[in-house]
């Protein structure tokens, strides 16, 4: 157990050590010795088996010792008692001998005869319970034999009841107890053994015993006790000869040893438990049994011998005791040992199991670690792949964009310009998308971070719409956007993500819509009005059958006249919204202060289409990734089905939620809310973001009439025109417009004449007298001094024939193709009105070079690159924008140039350079700066003016687009990065953070 404990202790220690050292593969003790584990177990079991055997043996031995002690105690006790009883009997015989010598020899005539002796002995027999009988034999020498025979009247007989042959001496029995009267007149010296006994007894003067034999009467084993009787008193310490001569006769008695011992044992407890044998061991080689059976069974293994002393020094006796039964098996010892073994076995097994488990867990752990490493490697490979692929895509895309930029520089018609610009915008969106692909991994890992920058919601919506304009135009689907006036011009949020959401939703709609319209609407979510419309409530998912029945015949008051799933966008509710805005717009100026106090604004965005809708059964899994309505959807329309799930994630990230209403074959409306920060006016007025589109202000105050039968569409048109600062009026048809114009023109000159008349193609075609009215309109204008209003046709798609017709009808000026975008409308109007006149060769160029020029003009910039050519190109690019450029060819040279104080405004740093790379150089520069700042702060502690801190903006120049590189740049103190080779917009974005725009007049 100790070993195991130590093991586990050791184990925990090694684990700790491993953790501390951070070694990759922490092989623990157990792990290292895994092959030995079964052997450990076996060894453990064997040791425990040995131990339990030892315990058993020990306990058993204890038992045996105790048993032996008990036996010896019992045996000694019995032997002592037997000895005592025996000596009591011997004393009695002794007393009898003295009686005989006193009354037979010292009295003359003898006071004892046979009768007296018999009676006396019979009456005192109780005192000698062990003696079957006593008798007295007289010593008769041969010379006195005749006299003796005569006197007693019988002849001396031998033991065999024959007249005794002649001998030196005889010892005939003259007195005998009645129980042994059959031995009267028998010569005791005729028996060999008795004779020896007699001789020994008279020589010693003590009681002597024969060896055991079968008694004549009872057939019990017995011994004869012989006592000498002396005629005269012996001198003190008499010699043997004196004793022999003084001998008068012999008193003898037969001891029934068997009954003696039987009797004795009967009195003692534990009689049954032990076996007792008594032996005469005078002859040491031949033990004569006196009591007990020679061949008795019993426990032969254990016996105890006790010496017996019956008073005869010649004879030796001993008592041997044994247990009756063999020692019982010691159950206690056995059980104890067994239990001990079992417990140890179990403990061993548990430890073994634990060790095995540890090994397994560790194996799994290592396996997991390996898998983790592999997964991470795969992840790295993935991001590497993404980076490579996106890089590969970027290169040709840059070519496309460059070419488009070149194309835009040429002399193009407005349509061509629009196409080229659209292509450019699409290309840019594609590049953005590539970056989004890079970010997708982040969404999946939940690591997406949202930007918070001010942006113009409206221009983003315009961009997205332009992305899809080509497609929708081909399909003949109307695409429109409307943003409520109450939505702030600039909001704080993540424009890229917002664009992604809108792109996804509109992309879906375009994909699934073949006729009708797609309408994006943005208003403040606080506006409760549309929800109050009871009709909207009833027409949620499914709608009423009646509506569906009449739908064919009925014109819906939606954007295109087709029925939409969610009626909240129909004119009935929409006009509330618009009217409401107009009413409250002025009133809400006061409220605006309160509104702006709250930091955030919640927008409600809805994307409505009149497409195929979503089947009811598929509606609950629309937002699940890779789930399209059904498998045929992807066959017909393509796509992976991940878009909506990402959209949902993004919306939730932005603090909103998304929902939809869809009716099959009618359309779907996706609405989502999103929370943006309010943009403080001060912050966006001085930092101009490139995505905040500069709309030309030349149209401010112009008056336009929109001729459109559909109020929703008219509202959309007005929204775009209003953004250009124009005043807009509605007219339901060309006639009304014409009459209105006429009235204005003829009656009151004070009212301004419309500068532009925008006519919806549908309205124009539907009016039979369209052409005529227009002509009248034209004529009327011509009749007046006022310049004629420009006529513009609005169309989603138009055939060449229609175009010709339109030209003929008077729309000589231009046709604006939908979807409307403020910038496009502006471009068209510019062309029509002749203003601007190539004032802006292209949006990108406008934002790029002029703004960059204003940013960089007069700045002193250090370019650090080891590559001569790169250095020259970078310097050239920066010089073009008016910067003063100095070059350094290594990190060390840069350090030298940047010794404080210096006059550089910024530093562009290559990353990969020999000796000292860009990261290292930046770190050193920052170190230098922080030292200088500290010193300065110490110097001007009281003043504590922090304006003079040294911090030169350092921008990395890198060909990588991997995010990791960017992180690395930031980590070592750089302020940003520009991709190499330079791209104007990229450069602008990077530089704009540090340099404030100088007024154009400066440059």
């Amino acid at each position: 157990m100790g070993l195991k404990l130590q093991q586990s202790y050791h184990h925990s220690v090694t684990v700790k050590v491993n953790e501390q050292m951070g070694t990759k593969r922490g092989y623990t003790f157990i792990q290292a010795n895994r092959a030995w584990l079964p052997k450990f177990l076996l060894l453990w079991v064997m040791v425990m088996a040995f131990l339990s055997t030892w315990i058993y043996k020990k306990m058993d031995a204890d038992n045996k010792v105790r048993r032996k002690e008990v036996l010896s105690t019992m045996c000694d006790q019995r032997a002592r008692m037997l000895q005592d009883q025996f000596s009591v009997s011997v004393n009695h015989v002794h007393a009898l001998a003295i009686l005989v010598s006193t009354f037979h020899y010292y009295k003359d005539p003898s006071a004892i005869d046979q009768e007296t002796f018999a009676e006396y002995t019979a009456r005192t027999a109780f005192e000698r319970p062990l003696l079957s009988g006593v008798a007295y034999a007289e010593r008769v020498v041969h010379s006195e034999r005749e006299k003796f025979e005569r006197q007693h009247g019988w002849t001396i007989k031998t033991m065999k009841r024959e007249p005794s042959p002649i001998r030196d001496e005889y010892a005939p029995v003259i007195f005998s107890q009645e129980t042994v009267s059959y031995i009267e007149s028998l010569d005791m010296m005729s028996g060999e053994e008795d004779r020896e006994n007699i001789l020994r007894a008279r020589a010693t003067g003590k009681a002597v015993l024969t060896s055991p034999f079968r008694l004549l009467g009872s057939h019990h084993l017995g011994v004869v006790l012989t006592f000498p009787v002396y005629k005269s008193k012996l001198p003190p310490s008499p010699t043997e000869q004196e004793r022999i001569e003084a001998t008068a006769g012999y008193l003898g008695g037969a001891f029934d040893v068997e009954s003696l011992v039987e009797n004795l044992l009967g009195q003692l407890a534990g009689n049954q438990a032990i076996l007792v044998n008594v032996y005469d061991i005078t002859n040491s080689s031949d033990h004569l049994i006196m009591y007990g059976h020679q061949n008795q069974d019993g426990d032969l293994a254990l016996l105890h011998e006790s010496k017996l002393d019956f008073g005869d020094p010649f004879r030796k006796h001993q008592m041997i005791c044994r247990y009756h039964q063999k020692a019982p098996t010691s159950w206690t010892a056995l059980t104890t040992a067994f239990l001990f073994f079992v417990i140890c076995l179990l403990v061993g097994y548990i430890l073994y199991g634990a060790a095995i488990h540890i090994v397994k867990v560790e194996d799994d752990f290592h396996e997991m670690e390996e898998l983790k490493v592999r997964a991470e490697a795969a992840d790295v490979a993935k991001s590497q792949f993404l980076a490579t692929v996106s890089h590969e895509i970027r290169t040709p895309m840059n070519g496309i964009l460059g070419m488009l930029a070149l194309l835009l520089d040429t002399d193009l018609s407005s349509t061509q310009r629009d196409y080229a610009q659209t292509a450019q915008v699409c290309g840019k969106a594609l590049i953005t998308l590539i970056n989004e692909v890079l970010d997708r991994a982040k969404i999946e890992a939940g690591k997406l971070e949202l930007e918070t920058v001010p942006f113009d919601l409206r221009s983003i919506l315009d961009d997205v719409l332009s992305l899809f304009s080509e497609k929708s135009r081909n399909k003949g689907v109307e695409l429109a956007v409307f943003v409520s006036d109450k939505v702030p011009e600039m909001v704080m949020g993540d424009p890229g993500r917002f664009r992604q959401i809108i792109t996804n939703l509109v992309g879906n709609s375009v994909k699934f819509t073949e006729r009708g319209h797609i309408f994006v609407k943005v208003h403040l979510a606080e506006n409760p009005k549309p929800m109050e419309d009871p009709k909207a409530e009833t027409c949620l998912n499914g709608g009423s059958d009646e509506d569906a029945l009449v739908s064919g015949a009925r014109q819906f008051k939606t954007l295109s006249g087709y029925e939409a799933a969610d009626e909240r966008n129909s004119w009935d509710s929409f006009k509330h919204l618009v009217a409401d805005e107009e009413l409250r717009y002025d009133a809400s100026v006061k409220m605006k202060a309160a509104d702006e106090a709250s930091q955030s604004v919640t927008l409600m965005v809805s994307v409505e289409d009149t497409g195929i809708g979503i089947p009811l059964i598929a509606q609950d899994r629309v937002f699940m990734p890779f789930m399209q309505a059904d498998s045929s959807t992807s066959r017909n329309y393509g796509g992976t089905g991940i878009g909506l799930s990402i959209t949902k994630c993004l919306v939730e990230l932005m603090g909103g939620h998304i929902s939809f209403i869809s009716r099959p074959q009618v359309g779907s409306t996706f609405s989502f809310t999103t929370v943006f920060g309010r943009c403080k006016r001060a912050s966006f007025s001085d930092t101009k973001k490139p995505n905040a589109e500069d709309l030309p202000s030349g149209f401010r105050g112009l008056k336009a009439v929109v001729v459109d039968g559909k109020p929703v569409r008219a509202a959309v048109t007005r929204y775009h025109l209003k953004r250009l600062g124009m005043l807009v009026e509605f007219a339901n048809s060309v006639k009304i417009a014409a009459s209105a114009c006429g009235k204005n023109g003829s009656s009151c000159g004070s009212k301004t004449q419309p500068d532009i008349v925008l006519v919806e193609k549908d309205s124009w075609l539907s009016g039979e007298d369209g052409g005529l009215s227009l002509r009248t309109l034209d004529r009327q204008q011509n009749g007046h001094v006022f310049k004629s209003p420009k006529m513009i046709l609005l169309a989603t798609n138009i055939t060449n024939a229609e175009l010709e017709k339109a030209r003929a009808a008077g729309f000589a000026d231009t046709t604006i193709m939908k979807p409307l975008r403020a910038s496009m409308v502006a471009a068209c109007l510019q062309q029509v009105l002749g203003t601007g006149k190539k004032r802006q060769p292209g949006r990108g160029m406008l934002n790029g070079s002029s703004v960059l020029g204003s940013l960089l003009c007069g700045k002193k910039i250090l370019v650090v690159d080891d590559n001569m050519v790169n250095r020259r190109v970078a310097a050239g690019a920066l010089k073009k924008f008016g910067a003063a450029v100095e070059c350094a060819e290594s990190g060390k040279a840069a350090l030298k140039l940047l010794q404080l104080p210096h006059s550089f405004d910024a530093c562009f740093m290559d990353i990969q350079m020999p000796e000292m790379d860009g990261f290292e150089a930046t770190r050193r520069i920052r170190m230098m700066e922080s030292q200088a700042n500290e010193q300065m702060n110490r110097g001007t502690e009281e003043g504590s003016i922090r304006t003079g801190e040294w911090h030169i903006p350092i921008l990395a120049m890198t060909a990588d687009v991997i995010h990791a590189t960017y992180d690395e740049c930031l980590k070592c103190g750089m302020d940003g990065y520009v991709s190499k080779p330079f791209e104007e917009e990229n450069l602008y974005l990077a530089v704009a953070k540090f340099f404030k725009t100088k007024p154009i007049s400066d440059s």
Partner: protein, 149 residues
Amino acid sequence: MDLVQLQRQFVDYKTSLYHEGFLDEQFTQLQELQDENNPDFVVEVVSLFFEDSERLLNELARALEQQNIDYKRIDAHVHQLKGSSSSIGAQRVQKVCIAFRNYCEEQNVEGCLKCLQQVRHEYSLVKTKLESLFQLEQQILTAGGSFPM
């Protein structure tokens, strides 16, 4: 030769250079950087490129002849070459440089030698092409014409 014809020839030639992948949009950007303040910018940068590249190619050839090839040094040289070629938009040279760097990473001598051969080839190609382009340009200039973009 007629100026218009010259100009057309110039445009065609330049387009073919883009088309065959000798140059990419970076060269266009380079040309954009050239203005009145900096009339010889492109020629200047390109001749810098020639100078630098020849030096690097010689260095590379020398480095590859060594008994123990110092791949780090070679990699640094190729990186330089890649950087400058991408700066002027000589994208075929740049592509070979990418392959070159891969071989360098594998420490593959044969691959490196092969790449060096290719780089030399591509370099001389682009050099000839650019030189003839400049010649055409010069001719147009002497004829008093301007460049169509």
